[in-house]
Symmetry: C2
DNA sequence: TTTCATTCTATTCATTTGATTAGGTATTGA
DNA sequence: TCAATACCTAATCAAATGAATAGAATGAAA
């Protein structure tokens, strides 16, 4: 009824979107590499190609910048898992579990920052960790535990407590990518190579579900979710 | 200077040894928790109960303090592995592998700093990581790969490439303890509880070597290597 | 005792850090 | 056109950080 006196907030400039995302990209990389305290706002700004005060313009503080970057990362992760799950109808739980594990491994390879950031914030008396666990990790854990509990109950997976299974799965799946620089030096293998990712997914699934479980029959093409997920990068005519 | 009579260098004061080790303890904890850049020398000093300039007296720089703390940690780790291995004569390789894995898990539970520090330093263009890999991780990796290659060749372990096996093993074994604060909140389980440690060792061994491989038959009493192992990494004479 | 190296603290310094301020530019809507 | 607003930079601040300096306390050796 009331006439639109409340003029809609002025549109964001097109350039701003790109900048915001570049800042979030740089922030996520540096937070994951150097930890929250170790990553300086100046270095983040430099990597994003902007000046340091701009970070405090788009985000009120370093803390909010961290939160925004982590939010976006988990959003991408849940989107990847959800997209995979949506493509499955009438598939048995065992196959679903295998495919979800593979999707987790693909994402961990493309975005090792996820596991790195969890690890770095995982220390006593850390408010960022409280937020991280409650907001993002908890639902993931609950879903995983619920799925595996059913499989264990049916004997399709070794009878191991769900929590142990959760950390065995996440640790086995993500560690090689989290420690990619080390892996390259130790073995000469580049874990980020698509074939190496596929081989690792095979290995983890085979170890968890027994031999011949990790063969190509259960594979799915890694979704190549590497690059910018954001709808930015619209062609600037 | 003249012949200097080679008077044996004056003995260290008794109190100094204790102080040095307290500093190393505090440094290791804080480096593992907050990363190299995030851990401040003042906070380390405070936790050790000394003033900050004392760190630069015992160690020339923050970097040398980090190196000394990591050196001592790996020395303790190798000592634990070696002590376990020395107690085994005429034992088959498969059993040795299981016991070494258990020892790794026990140590990871008592000293999650080891995996945490490796993870934190694992980033491109990092001289600390170069030193860490070459000095401490490389021999560990080579030994592990060599042992597992034999087991795989004999079909006693799933046919998985050694590098993948290495990261599956370390990730599955250490992650729950590295993420202990998270685990406590998610599951209510305290991973540092001795029974929880034992259960996790059982789980990892069972997953790697098949069912009934992780039963009590293959267990060894966790060496309770919690406290100060230090015959402290020999002060440079 | 005296000597003297070892151990430790108080003070200080030059940088770096996150954040703020003031100002400048450009796009939008009327 | 012309204000209003979104976007971005230069300059700066107070607090912190690693390191250096000077010097006190301690105890072993002469």
């Amino acid at each position: 009824m009331t006439i639109s006196v409340a003029t809609a907030p002025r549109q964001q400039r097109p350039s701003a979107n790109g900048t915001r995302d570049r800042i979030l990209d740089a922030a996520l990389d540096l937070f994951a590499d150097r930890s929250y305290e170790g990553a300086t706002t100046r270095e983040i700004a430099a990597r994003a190609g902007v000046t340091q005060p701009l970070l405090n313009y788009h985000f009120h503080s370093k803390d909010e910048l961290w939160t925004s970057a982590v939010d976006r990362l988990f959003s991408q992760f849940n989107q990847a898992l959800g997209a995979r799950r949506d493509g499955l109808h009438g598939v048995d739980d065992l196959s679903i579990a295998k495919l979800m594990i593979r999707e987790f491994i693909y994402f961990s390879a493309a975005h090792p920052q996820l596991h790195r950031i969890i690890t770095q914030e995982c220390k006593a008396d850390n408010t960022r960790m409280d937020w991280l666990v409650q907001t993002h990790v908890r639902p993931l854990y609950d879903t995983t535990v619920s799925l595996f509990s059913q499989l264990v109950a049916r004997g399709e997976v070794p009878a191991i407590a769900p929590t142990n299974l959760y950390y065995i799965l996440t640790g086995a799946g993500a560690t090689m990518f989290v420690l990619a620089p080390e892996c390259r030096r130790l073995s000469g293998i580049d874990p980020m190579d698509p074939r190496a990712i596929e081989a690792h997914a095979d290995a983890v699934v085979e170890i968890l579900f027994g031999p011949s479980a990790g063969t190509r029959a259960n594979r799915t093409a890694p979704k190549q979710s590497r690059g910018a997920v954001t709808s930015s990068a619209k062609g600037d005519s």
